[in-house]
Structure formats: structure tokens, C-alpha cells
Symmetry: C3
Subunit: 166 residues, 3 copies
């Protein structure tokens, strides 16, 4: 892998604003939670939403109602970028991810909305852009739900694999 072709290099090239969950510490308005847990080579991440460190939420609301598909996809991508921040906090560098394991994706939507997979796909496609077509592809499920915290329209529940054991 050339230096220009690493996950960190790709994230930089894509201009992703990967948040630093070390400062201020992860959690904050959501109470006593941690960003990740490492066990063996597995990294179990906490839920990540399209909410920035100041608490501003990208496109809150409901797919099929007040959030368009394109907005939902932007929110899903933002949540995945936030999850990268969790990974970086866990491992120090995105380059230490050997594989995405799987992503359970929650989408707030109406009863009639049938394209939850297209919303979730925007999150998992971002992971492929960053980690590449081998390591970046994981399993996935997209679940349309009633609500999430503070009207976030998307949340990703992600597991990845690291290059070393704890």
C-alpha cells in the first residue's frame, strides 16, 4: 500500500471532518457512555449519529416526511464520518483497520418509506471509500425505526476489526 493509498490519506483527500472524541471527551450530553470497546481484534463502536461536537444535528426528522432521500444520505454519511472518529480514538489511526465487520443502520422513517437501504448505503459507501473495496466492505442491515435520540434521522452501530489484539 503506497502512503497515498491508506485510509488516513483517503480520508484527508476526501476532506472528511473526522471529529476528535478525545477532546472534549466522548459522551457529554449523552451521559455515561464510551465511544468503543476493544476485545481481541474486534472494535465494538458505540452508536454514532449525524451530530457534531457542538450538538448540531444534520437533517433531523423523518425520511418519507420532512427529510428527503438525499438529506438522509448526507446524514448517514455524516454519521459514518463520526464513526471514523470513534475508530481513530480506539486505534490511533484509521490505517489500523483490517476490515469492517458489519453495520446495523437505523433510519427514522414513515410507514410508507421503502428505501431504508439507500440511506444506509450512503454510510457504508463512505466506509468503502475510506477503507477500500476489500477492507471497507462489511455486512449490513438497514432498519426503519420510530425515533432516535433528539430527532436524529440516522444512527450506525458498527463493528470493525483491527490489525492487532488487545
Amino acid at each position: 500500500m503506497s502512503p497515498a493509498d491508506t485510509p488516513e490519506a483517503r480520508a484527508a483527500r476526501l476532506g472528511l471532518a473526522v471529529p476528535d472524541y478525545g477532546n472534549p471527551p466522548y459522551g457529554g450530553r449523552y451521559g455515561t457512555v464510551k465511544a468503543f470497546h476493544r476485545s481481541g481484534r474486534l472494535v465494538f463502536l458505540s452508536g454514532f449519529t449525524p451530530e457534531d461536537r457542538a450538538g448540531v444535528i444534520l437533517h433531523p426528522g423523518r425520511l418519507g416526511d420532512d427529510v428527503t432521500l438525499a438529506q438522509g444520505q448526507a446524514a448517514a454519511r455524516a454519521a459514518a464520518v463520526n464513526a471514523l472518529g470513534g475508530i481513530r480514538l480506539a486505534l490511533g489511526s484509521l490505517d489500523r483497520v483490517t476490515s469492517v465487520v458489519r453495520a446495523l443502520c437505523f433510519v427514522v422513517c414513515t410507514a410508507e418509506f421503502e428505501e431504508v437501504h439507500l440511506v444506509a448505503g450512503a454510510a457504508t459507501d463512505l466506509l468503502v471509500e475510506v477503507f477500500g473495496t476489500e477492507a471497507g466492505v462489511g455486512g449490513r442491515a438497514a432498519i426503519g425505526v420510530m425515533q432516535l435520540a433528539r430527532r436524529n434521522c440516522f444512527e450506525i452501530w458498527l463493528t470493525v476489526e483491527a490489525d492487532t489484539e488487545t
Copy 2:
């Protein structure tokens, strides 16, 4: 274990149409996803729905509305059979499963439908029929949700354990 009393033999005896996710490759209309990830002895499966390789969905809709309990149970069983295809792709044979770990089951339903566990039970009972009363019993949760991809009424998010490490 006698040759007639293996998971593969039981699946054959039950006449289960376990799909081959090697050909055509898993994913297709759902984009860049993989069917499973192995880590140590754990096999983390992607979400499986009651949708066949041609994209035909068994009993799409909503429990408590246009899908009956019996239809939902048939859909749940079909999703579990599809998950067997994911396991066979991961391990080469169902006989290499030492234990079902747990299954998170999503059921599209109305606000009044209170029997999501009876739907999920049809999926996990199929796993017991195939893997036996020791290895086939896992943990479970049944969650009634707003929607799934393309109006599927059921999805299973399964983890199993294999006989060898990666």
C-alpha cells in the same frame, strides 16, 4: 453424530432451498455489502430477509395489517434459510457450526401488534431444527419496527460460532 444426524443432513431432509450466495455473488441489488465476516471462531452475518436470489420477496408488508401471523412466520423461516446460505458461504458446510450465538430479529408491524416474538420464533426454531437442540439454540430479541428494505416484513441479524478459528 451419525452422518444422518448432521446439520447438512437435516437441511436436506427438511428440503430447505438454501441459496448459493457464491453464484451470483452476494450483494447485487443492495450494493457493496458482504454476506459475513469471520473473526476468531465468530461468524458475524449480514442481515438476511425473506427475499430470493431473483429479488422476489415472500409476504412483503406489515404484521397486524396485510401480513398474517402465519405469513410472517413463513417469511421469518425463509429469512433463516437464507441465513443458512450465508453460513455455508462462510464455512463451506453447515456442519462446521458449533453454536448459534444470538439472533436479533426485526419484524415490520403495526403499533397494536404484540406478537413479534412469535414471528421471530419461526426463524430461530428453524435454526434449532437444523443445528439441533444443543448447538441450535441462541439468544434472541424480537423488535417490531417501522420498515425494512423494499417492504420485507422480516430481517435476521445473526451471529454463530464455528469449529475453528480464522
Copy 3:
């Protein structure tokens, strides 16, 4: 750690009615399921709800409708206490937990209810009270859903880490 400052001692001091899932055996009215699966140091727990061994459910219903926030939090705490029963069944003692990994929390709510995290927080705060501010803090997601089994308003899908490998 002094004897008075162990998870078992804290659970006793809090007066928690941790259920014994060994007698009668876990499962019962929910069919063929198991309470937990151990793999390496990981303990994957089944879904736990605020339902006692007799099947009596604490505060069934829907947040934002017939269940108040305080009632939902009491239900979430009761579900977490039940999960402690699953952990004790798995490991013999709560003292063998080295870390909470993460908790996926499901809350039955209306479309307008925006505080699912405050409900889930009552469950994860209980884990912190018992396991302490280091081991007891895990990752978390709070998901507002349509329904759960038998009108339970909360369910926790928990993973913890033990002090020894299987």
C-alpha cells in the same frame, strides 16, 4: 478492590432483585432460547425486558403515550437488573465482569417522543452503579421502535467482557 466494593456487594447494597435464570430455566414462555453465549472473553446476552419470572411486565405500553418518562426509566432499570441475572447465570458472579462492551437499547415510543436516550440511560446507569465507573461504562445506542414482545416498553441487547476465556 475491597470486598465491599465489588459488583456483587454493590448489587446487594442497592437491594436489586436479580432473578435466578437457572430455576426455573431461562426461556419459558418465549420458547427455545438461551440467556447468553460465551465466546472467548465475550458474553453475548439475549434480549432482556422488564418482565419478572412470573411474566408480570413493568409498565407495558408506549413512551409518549401511556408510559411516562419516569415509568420508562423504571422499566429500563428493571430490564438491566434482569440482564444482571443473565450475566450471573453465565459467569456465576457479577464480580467476573471486567467490562461492559456495549448495549443496544430498544424503546417502544410514539413518533413524537424524542428522549429515547433518557430511557436507555436508566438501564446503562444501573450498569455503572453495579460495575463501577470504569468497568460499567459501555457503548450505547437508543432506538425508538414500534413494538416489542407482549407490549414490553423496553429491551436491552447487551454484550459484556469476562475475566477469563471459555
